[in-house]
Amino acid sequence: MLAAILVMSGIALVLGGILGWAAIRFRVEEDPLVEKIDAILPQTQCGQCGYPGCKPYAEAIAKGEADINRCPPGGEDGVKRLAELLGVEPKPLDEGLTHKPKSVAVIDENLCIGCTLCIQACPVDAIVGAAKQMHTVIPELCTGCELCVAPCPVDCIHMEVIKEDVSSWKWRYPIISLKRAA
C-alpha cells in the first residue's frame, strides 16, 4: 500500500516536473492583442477615430477605452473583423463617421507655393517637395487620410476617388435574379 502511494506520487512529481519545465521552455510567445487589432486596422493614419494614428487607436481598443466602430476607412467590414477578433457584437459606424471610397490626394502643381505644410501633415511621408519648390503626392504611397488638405494655405490639394481599372477590377458577387420559373 505504502509502496503504491510512493510510486504513484513519484510518477506524479516527475510528470509534473516535466510539464512545468516544458511550460517554461516551450512557451509560445503569443501575439499581443494590440498587434492583432492593429493588423486589422487599415493603417490610413487619418485620426478620424480621435486618436493620433492606427496604433494608438488599437491600444485604446485593447484597453477597452475606445469602441470598435470608430474607423471609417475600415468601414463595416473592418468593424465586423474587429468584433470577430474581440468576441463582441458588430455595430454600425459611430455617428458622424462615414465610410468613403478609397481616394488619393492630388496637388495642383500650378497653384502649389511650396510651403511644406502638407509634407509636415502627411503621416506616411507620401509627399515629396522642399521649401519654395513644387510638391507632389506619390499616389502609390498615399493612404487617402485627407490630413494634407486642410493645412494647404492656397487650397491646391483635392482628393480624387481611385477609379477602378482593368488591373484592380474585381469579379462581382454573383447576383441571382429571382425570376419565376417558366
Binding site: 504611397l141 469579379w171 441571382i176 419565376r180
Partner: protein, 556 residues
C-alpha cells in the same frame, strides 16, 4: 504512329462531354483579313505588367515596330500590326470581363503595310539568355488563353533542363477550331517552333497531345513528324482534356502539385499556336503580330481567320459575313470558360482565340438558379477533385478563409461544375468572385503594411529630430554660459534665455535672407515708394518679427 499507339494514357478524374459544335467552323481553310483603316492595339495583352507606350500621337510607325515596351519582369512588347500613323494613345474598350476601358495605341493604317527590317534569329548559336530577351521584346506570349510571357517559360532556370516538352493541341473547348485549322495547315511550321523550344529547354522528349475528335489534325501532325522523334498522341475527347495539368497527367501520368507548376514534375507545355508564332519570330524575325481566331455561332459564314492583333471585333465579324439576325450577344473564348464581350469596338488581342455569337436557340437563357441540394454532381465532374459545393457554400457566405482551406486556388475555372449543376447555380462565378476578393485583400494588406512601416519610421524620425534639436540648443546654451555672457546664478533660467535668444537670432537671420525677388525690375519711383514703406515698417520693428518667429516654428 506506332510509338503513339504504344503509349499508355492516364485518365484524369471528372470532366464532361458538352456538344462539340466544331464542324461549323472547322471546314474552311484559314482566311486572311483585308487591311483595315484603323487598328486599336491594347498595351495590356499578356499576364503581368502592361507594356509602356513608346510612341507619340502623330508618329509614323511601321509594321512590326515596337509601340509598347515591356516593363517589369513579367511583361512583353507590343507591336504595330501595320504601317501608319499613331492617332491616339488613350483608354479604349478592350476584351475584358469588366467591360472597362484600357490604354490602347490607335493606329491609322496608311495602306502601304511597310515593315521594319526583320532579321532572322540564329537560334542554334545564340546565347540562350539573349534569345529569350529577343523573344520578350518580340512580344511572344502563350496563345492558348493564359497569355503568359513565353520567354519565362522557355527558361529552364536552375533545373538546367526540362525533360518533357508537350505541345497542347487538344483544343477541348466546344466551338473553337483555331488550333485544329492551324495544325492541319501549318504542321511543319509548328514542329519547327517545337524544335526551337526543345533546344531552349533541353527537352529529351516532345509530345503533341491532340483530342481524338480531330483526326485531320492528328494525320497532318503525324505526317509532319515523320522522321523525327516527336510523338503525336491522340487523347480521348473529354472536356477539359486541354487543361495544362490535365493534359500533363493524360500523357505522362505525372501529377502537378497543388498550387505548383508542371515544371515541378519536369514538364513544360505550350499551345501549338505559340509554337507557330515562335517559328515565325525566329525564322523571319517577325514579332507577334497576328493570331488565328475562330468566328462562329450565329454568324453568316463561320470560319477561322488570321487576324492582326488590334483588329476591332466588329471588323472581324464583318469578315465572317456579319451576325445573323436575332443575335443575343457575343462571347470571347468558348461557352465553358469565355466571357461576355460588351463592345464590338474592342480589338482582338493575343488572348482572343474565338468570338462566339449567341442566339436564343443555341444559348437559351439559363433557368433560374435553385438552392444547392448537395447532390455531389459537381464533385464528380470536377477534374481537380475539389468539392465545388463546399466552395460554393463558403464563397456564397464570403468565408474566404474556408474557401482557401478547400483549395479554391486549385480551381481552374473550367466550368464543369456549373455545367452539370442540376440547380443551375453559376458556381464558377462564385469562385471567381472569391478569388478576386482574396487577391484584393492581399493587395490591401500589403499597402497597409507599407503604410504602417512608413508611419512608424516617420514617428521615429520626428522624435529623433526633436531630440537632436534639443541637444544642439543645450550645447549652444552651455557655450554661452561658459563664455560668461549670462549671469551664472540661475543656470536653468539662463539656459532658457539662451535658447530664446538663439531662436530670435535665427528668425532674424532667416528673415534677412529672404528678399522678395519680384521688385528687381521696377521703375525707380516704385522702388523709392517701396523703400519708404519698408522704412515706416521698421519704425515698429519688433512686433512683426515676433509674429514671423511664431510662423516659422513648425507645428510638431
Amino acid at each position: 504512329m506506332s510509338a503513339a499507339r504504344g503509349r499508355k494514357l492516364y485518365t484524369f478524374p471528372g470532366g464532361v462531354h458538352p456538344e462539340e459544335h466544331k464542324a461549323e467552323s472547322a471546314g474552311r481553310p484559314i482566311a486572311a483579313m483585308p487591311l483595315l483603316p484603323l487598328y486599336v492595339v491594347p498595351l495590356r495583352q499578356h499576364i503581368g505588367e502592361p507594356a509602356r507606350p513608346v510612341v507619340q500621337v502623330g508618329q509614323q510607325v511601321l509594321r512590326g515596330q515596337m509601340i509598347g515596351a515591356p516593363q517589369g519582369y513579367v511583361s512583353v512588347g507590343v507591336h504595330a500590326p501595320t504601317s501608319g500613323r499613331v492617332v491616339a494613345v488613350e483608354p479604349r474598350p478592350v476584351p475584358h470581363p469588366s467591360g472597362l476601358k484600357d490604354l490602347c495605341v490607335v493606329i491609322e493604317a496608311d495602306g502601304e503595310d511597310r515593315a521594319i527590317d526583320m532579321t532572322p534569329l540564329d537560334w542554334h548559336r545564340m546565347d540562350p539568355s539573349a534569345l529569350r530577351n529577343r523573344l520578350r521584346e518580340m512580344g511572344l506570349a502563350g496563345l492558348g488563353g493564359a497569355v503568359f510571357p513565353s520567354f519565362i517559360k522557355l527558361n529552364p532556370g536552375a533545373r538546367r533542363q526540362i525533360p518533357i516538352l508537350i505541345l497542347n493541341g487538344a483544343e477541348c473547348e466546344p466551338w473553337i477550331t483555331c488550333d485544329d485549322r492551324l495544325m492541319r495547315e501549318r504542321a511543319s511550321e509548328i514542329l519547327i517552333g517545337a524544335a526551337i523550344m526543345r533546344h531552349m529547354l533541353g527537352a529529351e522528349q516532345v509530345l503533341v497531345g491532340i483530342e481524338d475528335n480531330k483526326p485531320e489534325a492528328i494525320a497532318c501532325m503525324t505526317a509532319a513528324a515523320v522522321g523525327s522523334d516527336v510523338e503525336v498522341v491522340p487523347v480521348p475527347t473529354v472536356y477539359p482534356a486541354g487543361g495544362g495539368k490535365q493534359l500533363t497527367y493524360t500523357l505522362t501520368g505525372r501529377v502537378t502539385p497543388s498550387r505548383g507548376l508542371s515544371t515541378d514534375v519536369g514538364v513544360q507545355m505550350f499551345n501549338v499556336g505559340t509554337a507557330y508564332s515562335l517559328y515565325r519570330a525566329v525564322t523571319f524575325g517577325e514579332p507577334l503580330l497576328s493570331r488565328i481566331v475562330t468566328v462562329t455561332g450565329h454568324v453568316a459564314s463561320p470560319g477561322n481567320f488570321e487576324v492582326r492583333l488590334g483588329t476591332p471585333v466588329a471588323d472581324l465579324l464583318a469578315a465572317a459575313g456579319g451576325e445573323r439576325p436575332q443575335a443575343t450577344g457575343r462571347v470571347v473564348g468558348g461557352p465553358m470558360m469565355g466571357f461576355e464581350l460588351h463592345d464590338t469596338a474592342a480589338p482582338v488581342t493575343k488572348a482572343v482565340n474565338c468570338i462566339l455569337v449567341k442566339n436564343a436557340q443555341l444559348f437559351p437563357e439559363p433557368p433560374p438558379p435553385m438552392p444547392c441540394i448537395r447532390c455531389g454532381e459537381c464533385a464528380r465532374a470536377c477534374p481537380v477533385e475539389l468539392q465545388p459545393f463546399e466552395l460554393y457554400w463558403y464563397a456564397h457566405h464570403r468565408d474566404f478563409g474556408k474557401t482557401q482551406a478547400y483549395h479554391l486556388f486549385d480551381c481552374i475555372e473550367c466550368g464543369c461544375c456549373s455545367y452539370v449543376c442540376p440547380s443551375h447555380i453559376p458556381l464558377v462565378d462564385f469562385y471567381r468572385f472569391a478569388k478576386s476578393e482574396i487577391w484584393a485583400r492581399e493587395r490591401e494588406k500589403q499597402a497597409a503594411d507599407q503604410a504602417r512601416a512608413r508611419h512608424e519610421f516617420r514617428t521615429f524620425r520626428l522624435e529623433r529630430e526633436k531630440q537632436e534639436k534639443a541637444e544642439k540648443l543645450a550645447k549652444k546654451a552651455a557655450e554661452r554660459l561658459e563664455s560668461g555672457a549670462v549671469a551664472a546664478e540661475d543656470p536653468e533660467a539662463a539656459r532658457k534665455k539662451a535658447i530664446l535668444a538663439a531662436a530670435i537670432e535665427k528668425a532674424k537671420k532667416a528673415k534677412e535672407a529672404v528678399q522678395p525677388k519680384n521688385v528687381d525690375n521696377l521703375p525707380a519711383e516704385v522702388q523709392r515708394e517701396i523703400a519708404a514703406i519698408e522704412a515706416r515698417r521698421r519704425g515698429g520693428a519688433d512686433e512683426p518679427e515676433a509674429a514671423a518667429t511664431a510662423r516659422t516654428t513648425p507645428n510638431p
